[in-house]
């Protein structure tokens, strides 16, 4: 049943991926190896977490341009708290728990402010989140002294690495903790979106805010909650990234919100009417992941990558929109 609707609504992203894979395969034989595919999945797990948050926000007909800044800031606050605790004698484990908690709290707080500006202050989402992006970006630079904060905490780093670093068995290099975290988060959000009233409220606010209100949904509160949730998801991404890099960089997340939003749109989530869902977002993340990986494997100089990536993404979005409009028209 769900499969049937999904297939019918298959976003153009699926075709874009296939197309790109063919192109890249032609450019390099290394492309379709298992190692490479696993690579793509591992590299983009963190983006998936961020993109899931972006999807929720888009479903409510909003947008969160501060996601990248929140990612960065959460990593920074987490790292500072951890380092602070470790240097004053706490065990690695305790420090990590505290650090992660603070990181998540940071995300929740940023999301709460953004959501408040939008739901209560009635600010247009793009400007509220743009302003918060500036605020968050600055705070990251200040708290990290414009550089990176290194974290030497093996317990923490475990959550950012592939399993072969700690479990020395064959095939362990194909399993990574960030991927598990991303999968767990994805599952959790899937449950929230499809199995809880909150999830249905998100879609109803985006689909017909007036109708939702008349049906008794507390639109103001739940709209606010969407942004808090997105903030927490950005924080999870930031903390996991810090674990992987074993450092919290003060500008690492800049621009990630663009990839996240693009992934959501490419996955079939529309910026209006509450159309779409997180299942497609996986495809959207894959488009971006395949593109970036393909450019790498094909030997395109890293200098060209941001420009080409941006262009590919915009073209893919245009294609997806035109395609979905065509799909609606012939229905």
């Amino acid at each position: 049943m769900i499969g049937q609707t999904f297939l019918r609504r298959m976003p153009s992203a699926a075709w874009v991926i296939v197309l790109m894979m063919l192109v890249f395969r032609a450019a390099s034989a290394r492309y379709l190896t298992i190692g490479n595919i696993v690579n793509i999945i591992q590299q983009n797990s963190i983006l998936l977490i961020l993109a899931t948050g972006a999807t929720l926000v888009l479903l409510s007909e909003g947008i969160d341009l501060s996601a990248g800044a929140v990612l960065t800031l959460s990593g920074v606050t987490c790292a500072r708290v951890m380092n602070g605790l470790m240097s004053s004698g706490s065990s690695n484990g305790h420090a990590m728990v505290a650090g992660v908690a603070v990181g998540l709290l940071t995300g929740a707080l940023m999301g709460a402010i953004t959501g408040g500006l939008i739901a209560i202050g009635k600010l247009p989402p793009f400007i509220a989140s743009l302003g918060m992006m500036g605020v968050g970006g600055s705070l990251s630079l200040v708290l990290a002294d414009s550089t990176a904060i290194y974290v030497n905490n093996p317990v923490f780093s475990f959550f950012g690495q592939t399993l072969d670093k700690s479990i020395h068995l064959p095939l362990m290099q194909y399993l990574s903790m960030p991927t598990f975290i991303a999968a767990s988060v994805f599952l959790a959000i899937w449950i929230v979106l499809y199995q809880t009233a909150f999830g249905r409220y998100i879609v109803s606010i985006g689909g017909n805010e007036q109708g939702a209100r008349l049906s008794g949904v507390n639109v103001q509160f739940w709209k606010w909650m969407v942004y808090v949730t997105a903030g927490i998801l950005s924080a999870i991404s930031g903390v996991t990234l810090a674990a992987r890099l074993e450092a919290a960089d003060s500008i690492v997340g800049v621009g990630w919100e663009f990839d996240a939003i693009a992934a959501a749109i490419l996955g079939g989530t529309s910026f209006a009417k509450g159309k779409g869902g997180i299942a497609g977002t996986v495809l959207g993340v894959l488009v971006i992941g395949v593109a970036r990986n393909g450019l790498n494997v094909a030997g395109v100089p890293s200098l060209w990558q941001p420009a080409l990536m941006g262009t590919i993404v915009i073209l893919a979005i245009v294609f997806e929109i035109v395609h979905s409009r065509w799909r609606e028209a012939v229905r």
Binding site: I63, L65, F126, G131, F258, G310, V313
Partner: protein, 320 residues
């Protein structure tokens, strides 16, 4: 001018008051025992106006797109990319100064055209379309210059940045010309009138015979062009160009435009307000510089200003 209704006049007066108040505040805050009121130093004041000029040129473009439709978030990247283009044309390829300038301006207009087409024909919401362009263009600017800085431009080019006309620094001259022309176009020509109509009520404009698609595209072309122009003046003045040069302009431009009374909802462009607000912003920036406030706090302040300005604007509109 879209009608001087009483409250607009009241806000304009309020803005001037704020300008003076901020001026006094900055002067007092930055007073040092050694040098007295450094803020009020003639050179410093000139600096303020000169820095404001770059901002104003971009903000004029933003005012126009907001009048006709909505925001243009790509201005910072357009500035970066077009000025990088001009820079390498001048330094690395030895093109003549007029050619480099023309190329940059045309590139800006072209990028604005892409924005306009994405919005009117593909139907992307303006904030998504221009935000996407922001990143794409950054990618290209990075591609061309990566982390390098190009410096040392031919004097014939530098003159638009550090030359003077009748004793007035060129950036200010360019700004005055841009402002005067834009003011004229927006308030005294049929094109400007169509911008207002399209932004005020696009459905009514269409049903009154206005070609709304074309009008929106033109507005974004102008914004791109002006961002490029601002970039040229900027690199001529600083004598250097790098890929991220335009990054710090987006938030200030937005703050300035909203503080100046231009509505985010469209149809209410206030050029004079933008001018005054830009001066206020430049004064605050200048004050922060004198007080040696670390750069990283600056974008915090600007971010806060944007939010406050929009909240205030929203609040005042509810009451009106």
């Amino acid at each position: 001018m879209s009608v001087a209704k009483l409250s607009t006049k009241r806000f304009a007066a309020a803005r001037l008051l704020v300008l003076i108040a901020v001026g006094i505040a900055m002067a007092v805050l930055t007073r040092s025992d050694e040098y007295g009121f450094v803020f009020l130093n003639a050179n410093n004041l000139l600096n303020i106006v000169r820095n404001a000029s770059i901002l104003i040129i971009i903000a004029v473009g933003q005012t126009i797109t907001l009048t006709a439709k909505d925001v243009d978030l790509s201005v910072g990247s357009v500035l970066s990319l077009t000025s990088v283009l001009a820079a390498i044309m001048l330094k690395n390829y030895g093109f003549s100064v007029p050619t480099a300038i023309l190329a940059a301006l045309l590139a800006g207009a072209f990028l604005g055209l892409i924005n306009g087409l994405l919005i009117t024909y593909v139907g992307l919401p303006p904030f998504i379309a221009t935000y996407g362009m922001l990143w794409v263009l950054f990618g290209f600017a990075y591609l061309i210059l990566r982390g390098n800085v190009i410096y040392g431009f031919p004097p014939a080019f530098r003159i638009i940045g550090n030359g003077r006309l009748f004793g007035i620094p060129m950036p200010i001259v360019v700004m005055l010309v841009v402002f005067a022309v834009s003011y004229f176009v927006l308030y005294y020509t049929t094109l400007g009138r169509r911008f207002f109509a399209t932004g005020a009520n696009i459905e009514m404009a269409r049903m009154s015979g206005v070609n709304v698609g074309r009008i929106v595209v033109i507005a974004y072309v102008i914004s791109g062009f002006l961002a490029a122009l601002a970039g040229l003046v900027l690199i001529a003045y600083t004598n250097g160009s790098e890929a991220r040069i335009g990054d710090n302009y987006l938030l200030p431009v937005l703050a300035v435009v909203v503080m100046g009374g231009t509505s985010l909802a469209g149809g209410q462009g206030n050029l004079l307000g933008t001018l005054v607000a830009a001066l206020i912003m430049a004064m605050i920036h200048n004050g922060m510089n004198i007080l040696a406030v670390p750069a990283i706090w600056k974008s915090f302040v600007v971010g806060l200003l944007v939010i406050t300005a929009v909240l205030a604007d929203q609040g005042l509109r509810q009451k009106a």
